[in-house]
C-alpha cells in the first residue's frame, strides 16, 4: 500500500474511533445518578432542586431521561463547533467548553514541548555515552538514575524539587520561584494566565494588551514585555524539570538499546576496519541509526505528557488541560468532560499517525 492511502485510511479510522469514544464517555456520564449530577448546584450554588434540574436540562442540554436525543444533539453541535457549556463550581472556568480548551490546552502543550526539548538535550549525549559502554559502571548508574525519575510519583518529584530549589525556602539552591496560587491567575478581562499572581512586584499581568495564544511565554514576547517573559520562563523551570525527569528513563532506554543494537552491525565493523576514528563511528554510524526508533517514542511521549501532566499541573497550580479535566470531572460537567476526552483521543490518534509516517520517512525499508 502506498503511504498516501495508508495515511488516508488512518485518518478515516479516526472518525469512528472518536465517535465510539464519545459514546463510551457519554454512557459513563449518563450512568451517574441524576441526584449526583445536580448536587453541586444545590450544595455549592444554593439552588433549589427544581432550579438545579432546570440548569442541567435547559441550560446545559443534558436530558437524563432521553440519552439518545441528548447525545445526537451533542454530536450535531460538535461538528458545528459548539462543544457545550460548563458551569463548574470548582472548575476555574465557566462558559463554552471550546473556549476553555482553547485557553487550557496551549499551556499544557508548552509544558510538554519544553519537557521534550530538555529531555532530548539530556538523553541524546547521555544515551550515546552509556550506549557505547554497555554494562559499565556509568551505564548501570545512568540506568538506575533515570529509572528513579520514572519510578517516582510525579507529584512527589515536584515536592522534592520544591524542597531543594524553591526560592527562599529551598535547602540546596533557593533560587527558583514556583507555583503561585493558580486561581489568582484568573482576572477580570476573562483571560487566564497560568500560575502567575495578578501582580508581581507591582507589575500587573494586565500590562499585556493582547493574548493571542494564551501562552504567557509567547504573548509577552508578542507584546514586547520582557518582564513577563522572564517571569514566564522562571515559573516554567520546575514543572518542566519534573516532567523531564519523568520521561528521561523511557528515552534513555530506547537510545541505549538502539546504540547497543547497531554497534554490532556489519557497517560499523566495516567502518572500524577502514580505520575511521571511534568518535566518528559513534557519531555518524551508530548514533544516527539508534535515533530512528527514538523518534517513534517521542510522539507517544508528547501524547502521554498532554494527558499525564495532571499531578504536576496541580502541584504548581498550572492551568493546563489535565487540570481542567479533573476539576470538571469532579464537578460532573458532562460536556467539559466529553470535550477534553475528545481532545485527548484526537491527540493520541494523531500522535500515532505522525509516528508511523515519520518512521516510514526515516527508515526507507518500511513499506505500507
Amino acid at each position: 500500500m502506498e503511504l498516501r492511502y495508508f495515511i488516508l485510511r488512518r485518518i478515516l479510522v479516526i472518525i469512528p474511533t472518536i465517535i465510539g469514544l464519545t459514546i463510551l464517555v457519554f454512557l459513563i456520564m449518563w450512568a451517574i445518578p441524576f441526584d449526583q449530577l445536580i448536587a453541586p448546584y444545590i450544595h455549592q450554588k444554593g439552588l433549589s432542586r427544581a432550579q438545579a434540574t432546570l440548569v442541567v436540562e435547559q441550560q446545559l442540554g443534558f436530558y437524563k431521561n432521553d440519552p439518545v436525543l441528548t447525545y445526537l444533539f451533542y454530536l450535531r453541535d460538535l461538528f458545528s463547533g459548539n462543544w457545550g457549556i460548563m458551569f463548574g463550581s470548582a472548575s476555574p472556568y465557566n462558559g463554552p467548553v471550546i473556549n476553555a480548551i482553547e485557553i487550557f490546552l496551549p499551556n499544557t502543550i508548552q509544558l510538554a514541548i519544553g519537557a521534550v526539548i530538555v529531555s532530548m538535550a539530556i538523553s541524546i549525549p547521555v544515551g550515546t555515552y552509556i550506549g557505547s559502554r554497555p554494562n559499565s559502571l556509568g551505564d548501570q548508574f545512568g540506568r538506575v538514575f533515570s529509572l528513579a525519575g520514572y519510578a517516582m510519583p510525579g507529584f512527589w518529584l515536584a515536592y522534592l524539587l520544591i524542597y531543594l530549589f524553591a526560592k527562599n525556602t529551598g535547602i540546596l539552591l533557593p533560587v527558583v520561584p514556583w507555583g503561585g496560587n493558580g486561581l489568582n491567575g484568573y482576572y477580570s478581562s476573562g483571560h487566564l494566565v497560568p500560575w502567575i499572581p495578578i501582580q508581581v512586584n507591582g507589575h500587573p499581568v494586565s500590562d499585556l494588551t493582547s493574548y493571542p495564544t494564551h501562552v504567557l511565554l509567547i504573548d509577552s514576547l508578542l507584546n514586547g514585555n520582557i518582564y513577563w517573559f522572564t517571569k514566564a520562563v522562571e515559573y516554567l523551570i520546575l514543572p518542566v524539570l519534573t516532567l523531564t525527569y519523568g520521561i528521561l528513563a523511557g528515552l534513555l532506554r530506547f537510545i541505549r538499546a538502539g546504540m547497543v543494537d547497531s554497534i554490532n552491525q556489519e557497517y560499523v565493523k566495516t567502518a572500524r576496519a577502514k580505520g575511521v576514528p571511534e568518535k566518528t563511528i559513534i557519531k555518524r554510524h551508530v548514533r544516527k541509526n539508534a535515533l530512528i526508533p527514538t523518534v517513534t517514542v517521542l510522539g507517544l511521549l508528547v501524547a502521554g505528557l498532554l494527558g499525564g501532566a495532571v499531578a504536576v499541573e496541580f502541584v504548581f497550580g498550572y492551568y493546563g488541560i489535565g487540570y481542567l479535566t479533573v476539576l470538571s470531572a469532579e464537578d460532573l460537567q458532562v460536556w467539559a468532560v466529553m470535550g477534553t476526552t475528545i481532545v485527548f483521543g484526537i491527540v493520541l490518534v494523531i500522535a500515532n499517525l505522525v509516528v508511523d509516517v515519520v518512521y516510514a520517512y526515516l527508515d526507507p525499508r518500511i513499506r505500507y
Binding site: P16, Q140, M152, P153, W156, Y159, A166, V326, L348
Partner: protein, 325 residues
C-alpha cells in the same frame, strides 16, 4: 589379554528433562548474571514478604484490624495536629520501636502505617494486573488468531478504551459505584486490559504463522484448541514483563489519585500516596522543614518501584530472544 569389562562403565540412561524445565533453567541462569535485575528481584521479594508477613501476623508488625489508619491513631480519635507536635525520626524513639521513623498526621507512627499501606497497595495492584491482564490476553490472542473482521472490530474497540482518560473514568466510577476504593479498582481494570490485548495480539500474529500451529491445524485441531493450547502459551513472555512493570505503575497511579484527592471518600484507607500527601499537609510541612512525613513514605515507595522496574527490565532481557546475548 586386556580385560574389556574393566573399561565398561555404566552409562546412565539420559535423564528426561522436560524442555520447559530446561528452558526455565537457562532463563534463570541468564537472569542471575544480570546484577541489577538480581538486586531488583531481591528487593521486590522482600517487599512482598513484608506485606505477606504483615497480613499473616498483624499482631507483630501491625494491629489486628488495620483496614484504616485510625487503628494507629494514639487514643483512637483522629485530631489535626500542629507540625511542631510531630515526632521526628530517631534511633531511640520515646514511644517504642514503632516510632523509629517518626510520626505523621494524627500523630500516627509512620513505620507501621507504611506496612499497612504496602499490604493494601500490593494486594490491589496484583488483583488489577491479574484480572485486567487476563482479560486483555484472552481478547488479544483471539483477535490476533482470528484476524479479518473480528480482529478489526476488536482492535477498534480496544483503541476506544485505550483513549479514555483514566482520571475521568475513575472519577465517574466514584459517582456511579460510590466513594469507595473498589470503584477505582474497577476503573483501573477497565483501563488496564487494552495494553495486554495489543501486546498479545502482536505476538499471536507472528505465532499463528509458525509451523507447529500450522501442523496442529492440519491435524484437525479446533480453533479453540489452537488458540488456547498452541498459541497462548507461546505469546506470554512479553506479558510477564509487562505484568511485572505494571505492578509498580499501579502503585504509582494509586498515589497520584490520592494526591489529587479522588482515590476515595475515606482518606483513612491506608495507601502509600496518602501517607506522602498527609491529608494535604505534606508539601507545606516539607517547606517548613518537617521533611519526614512526605520523604520517608516516598522513598519507601520509590525503592519498591525502582526494584520492580529493574526486575522487569532484567526479565525483558532474558525472555526476549533478540536481546539474549
Amino acid at each position: 589379554m586386556v580385560d574389556v569389562d574393566a573399561f565398561k562403565t555404566e552409562i546412565a540412561p539420559p535423564r528426561k528433562i522436560h524442555p520447559k524445565v530446561e528452558e526455565m533453567k537457562t532463563t534463570g541462569k541468564l537472569f542471575l548474571t544480570n546484577k541489577l535485575a538480581l538486586v531488583g528481584f531481591t528487593i521486590t521479594s522482600f517487599y512482598f514478604i513484608l506485606a505477606i508477613l504483615d497480613a499473616i501476623y498483624p499482631q507483630y508488625l501491625g494491629v489486628a484490624n488495620d483496614s484504616t489508619y485510625l487503628s494507629w491513631v494514639p487514643g483512637g480519635t483522629p485530631t489535626t495536629i500542629q507540625p511542631s507536635q510531630l515526632l521526628s525520626p530517631s534511633l531511640t524513639p520515646a514511644g517504642g520501636w514503632m516510632f523509629i521513623l517518626g510520626t505523621t498526621f494524627y500523630n500516627m507512627p509512620i513505620f507501621p502505617a507504611m506496612l499497612a499501606a504496602l499490604k493494601f497497595d500490593l494486594g490491589y495492584s496484583l488483583a488489577i494486573v491479574m484480572i485486567g491482564g487476563g482479560i486483555g490476553v484472552v481478547i488479544g490472542v483471539i483477535s490476533g488468531y482470528m484476524g479479518g473482521i473480528v480482529d478489526e472490530v476488536m482492535m477498534r474497540v480496544t483503541d476506544i478504551f485505550f483513549s479514555v482518560p483514566f482520571l475521568v473514568l475513575a472519577i465517574a466510577f466514584l459517582f456511579v459505584f460510590g466513594h469507595v476504593l473498589s470503584s477505582v479498582v474497577y476503573a483501573l481494570i477497565i483501563i488496564w486490559w487494552p495494553i495486554y490485548a495489543r501486546l498479545t495480539r502482536g505476538q499471536a500474529l507472528s505465532t499463528k504463522a509458525m509451523n507447529y500451529v500450522e501442523s496442529a491445524r492440519a491435524a484437525g485441531s479446533s480453533k479453540l484448541r489452537n488458540i488456547f493450547v498452541h498459541v497462548l502459551p507461546n505469546v506470554l513472555s512479553p506479558v510477564y514483563v509487562q505484568f511485572s512493570l505494571d505492578l509498580g505503575t499501579i502503585v504509582l497511579i494509586f498515589s497520584t489519585l490520592d494526591f489529587l484527592g479522588i482515590v476515595n471518600g475515606n482518606p483513612n484507607v491506608p495507601e502509600l500516596g496518602s501517607l506522602i500527601v498527609a491529608q494535604g499537609n505534606g508539601l507545606s510541612w516539607l517547606i517548613a522543614g518537617y521533611w519526614w512525613p512526605a520523604i520517608i513514605p516516598g522513598i519507601f515507595l520509590l525503592i519498591f518501584t525502582i526494584s520492580i522496574n529493574l526486575m522487569g527490565d532484567g526479565l525483558r532481557d532474558v525472555l526476549d530472544p533478540k536481546l539474549r546475548r
